[in-house]
Symmetry: C2
Subunit: 387 residues, 2 copies
């Protein structure tokens, strides 16, 4: 199989885009990525999206977005893995280019959630969980994460305030990201006083309902070298799964699919957690960040929140996360998020992250999580100056 | 890239499975394919499905079906390309194995449509068309096909009765397929008298709303030879796309994506239409069969219905189609259909098609069509005794 590189990135500002349709958002991000790569067309397009059927009465996004972006006729289809759809689409694109079957591929993640009333969005998001044994009983996604967070706090004797640094860090990093939805700071005091949603998950523990689209262009690393620019090499991609329902797991506080997916990615890359300069974690909820950090080996079980102390997750810390604001503050247009993460890691590895640039960014990792970590896609990227 | 073979097939009877859930249907077909392949597990699972979000309040089918089939933890995600989802999932599975990244892969197509009231199903199916410019105006999928059929009859001066042989043939072939939904014969007189749905598309022009699941196991051809059994080699897979909306096309009576997809597949296989011994066409409507046959080079433009004369599409004819009943009479559980087609071509190439066995079946082709041919996936398979 061939080595694959990212040669183009594009993204739209995350927000409430009532004036733009799903196809417009997707095509805008895609055209922007093509322009960044300095090419006009690709052979194949992989679209990450979760909710367009439920919220937009539109399936079949492959040809829809291809055509609207001026790519009529190309191979195109949609990949769905709930909130991990973007990460799974990245995996599909990398596999296609690695295979030798496709030379130039694009991956676009797109989601439009704000056109419908909130109860509809909440119900649609619950389709990521087990319809028969979770959502069917009335459990929303926030409720499922509240169960996890409550259990974590009980089991490891951690206070709710221990999660504050994750929220503060995300908002701080979003401040200077022009594509972020929430460009305002949040303090630990704000977090402590935030409105309760599903106890103990409060408003600031949660990522927002929003619209967005992000895209990357992929090609073989050999071709990337010929094309010039600042290619970023894909060292690893992997997907692992677990039961949809939390109650079917031996230990709900261990994200086994995140651990498996990370372990496979580390093995492919020949690296370990200590080699990762930044980690774009899937911080849909504060508890998700903590469980992901533990699953990926950045902290021991039950000690994830300790990374929030002493600035370890901040820029310049031991393992910077959510460097552009994360799902929490850049925003979480669910099926698009996994692609935003790859765009952001690429920005850091290229040295083009502006005010958010890390001093050391040679190897970056992103993890895209579907449902309660029933699907986890991990990607490791290496910048042009590495090794 | 590596040559890929089909080493296992499984399917459930198409019908109204009110006593079985989507995960049960999918896992049953998958386990049956694993058993047929003589293996216990795969590394990756690709799920073709269109409507589970709208009709079952369940997205995230990758881990759901993997876990229910005893494959907890494997890489798994869903592929969606409207009614072409099954064919697109086959493509994804073949690419993954060809790449060298996955050795043992499974593809399952699954759909459960009969649990909801018909108007909901009709509305959900319309999500395959352009939500803003077709479905939003009230056009159902039958209506879109009625427009195509009416235009075809007008343009080429063809009577409605010219489509009868396609319906008669499909029902005749379904008679002896134990997995078919409609195992009863239909005559040209029945066809002429069938209830009108959307003029000129009548009830017998249309495929049914139904439930079903089918699965295949794929591996490198080298490994297939070691494993024994009767492997069937994948000579080509390809996907091409077109505009979702019919009015955006230069010529709505030319299925350009079907022509492009077939041309690419022929090129990969080094074959042409005359080398194809059977063609599992996507006969969702009679008009679809005819336009597909023309796009694939089996008939000249405007002459597709002539293949219905003199038994050319029947077993023993020039180009047998719908050899196990097709979408029309085996049934069309939309996202599963593209996988049923590969199962059936494999049955023919293995020589295990029972009463439906063709005397000559060395190379078979299947075409899976999404929407009004906005996505078309073509697969060419070669039997063990070929060449």
């Amino acid at each position: 199989m061939r080595s694959v590189s990212v040669i183009g990135i594009g993204q739209v500002e995350v927000g409430e885009h009532w004036d733009k349709s799903l196809r417009q958002l997707g095509a805008q991000a895609l055209r922007s990525a093509l322009q960044d790569a300095g090419i006009d067309a690709v052979e194949a397009l992989y679209v990450g999206n979760m909710l367009s059927g439920e919220l937009g009465a539109q399936e079949h996004l492959g040809p829809l977005i291809a055509e609207h972006a001026g790519l009529r006729g190309v191979e195109a289809y949609r990949i769905e893995a709930a909130c991990g759809s973007g990460g799974a689409a990245i995996r599909a694109g990398v596999v296609a280019v690695a295979s030798g079957i496709v030379d130039l591929a694009a991956v676009v993640g797109v989601e439009k959630m704000t056109d419908r009333p909130t109860p509809e969005v909440t119900a649609a998001l619950a389709n990521a969980s087990d319809a028969d044994y979770e959502a069917g009983l009335g459990l929303s996604f926030v409720a499922l994460n509240a169960l996890l967070m409550r259990r974590y706090m009980h089991e490891f004797r951690v206070g709710h305030d221990a999660f504050a640094p994750f929220v503060v860090n995300a908002h701080k990093n979003a401040l200077s990201n022009p594509h972020a939805m929430f460009r305002f700071p949040v303090s630990a005091a704000d977090f402590a006083q935030a409105k309760m949603i599903a106890d103990p998950v409060n408003l600031l523990d949660s990522s927002p309902v929003c619209d967005g689209a992000a895209a990357v262009v992929l090609c073989p690393s050999e071709l990337a070298a010929e094309l010039g620019g600042t290619p970023v090499r894909v060292l690893a991609t992997s997907i692992a799964t677990d039961t949809l329902a939390l109650h079917d797991r031996v230990d709900p506080l261990r994200f086994q699919a995140a651990a498996d997916s990370a372990a496979r990615a580390y093995r492919q890359a020949g690296l370990g957690p200590r080699n990762i300069d930044l980690f774009e974690a899937h911080d849909a909820f504060s508890i998700t960040s903590v469980l992901s950090l533990e699953a990926c080996g950045f902290a021991e079980r039950g000690h994830g929140t300790e990374l929030g102390l002493d600035g370890n997750i901040e820029r310049g810390g031991q393992i910077p996360i959510s460097t552009m604001g994360g799902l929490k503050a850049r925003g979480h247009p669910v099926g698009a998020t996994g692609v935003y993460q790859i765009v952001e890691v690429t920005q850091q590895l290229r040295g083009s992250a502006g005010a958010n640039q890390l001093a050391r960014a040679r190897v970056g990792m992103a993890q895209s999580v579907g449902g309660s970590a029933a699907t986890v896609a991990t990607t490791i990227l290496e910048g042009p100056v590495a090794r």
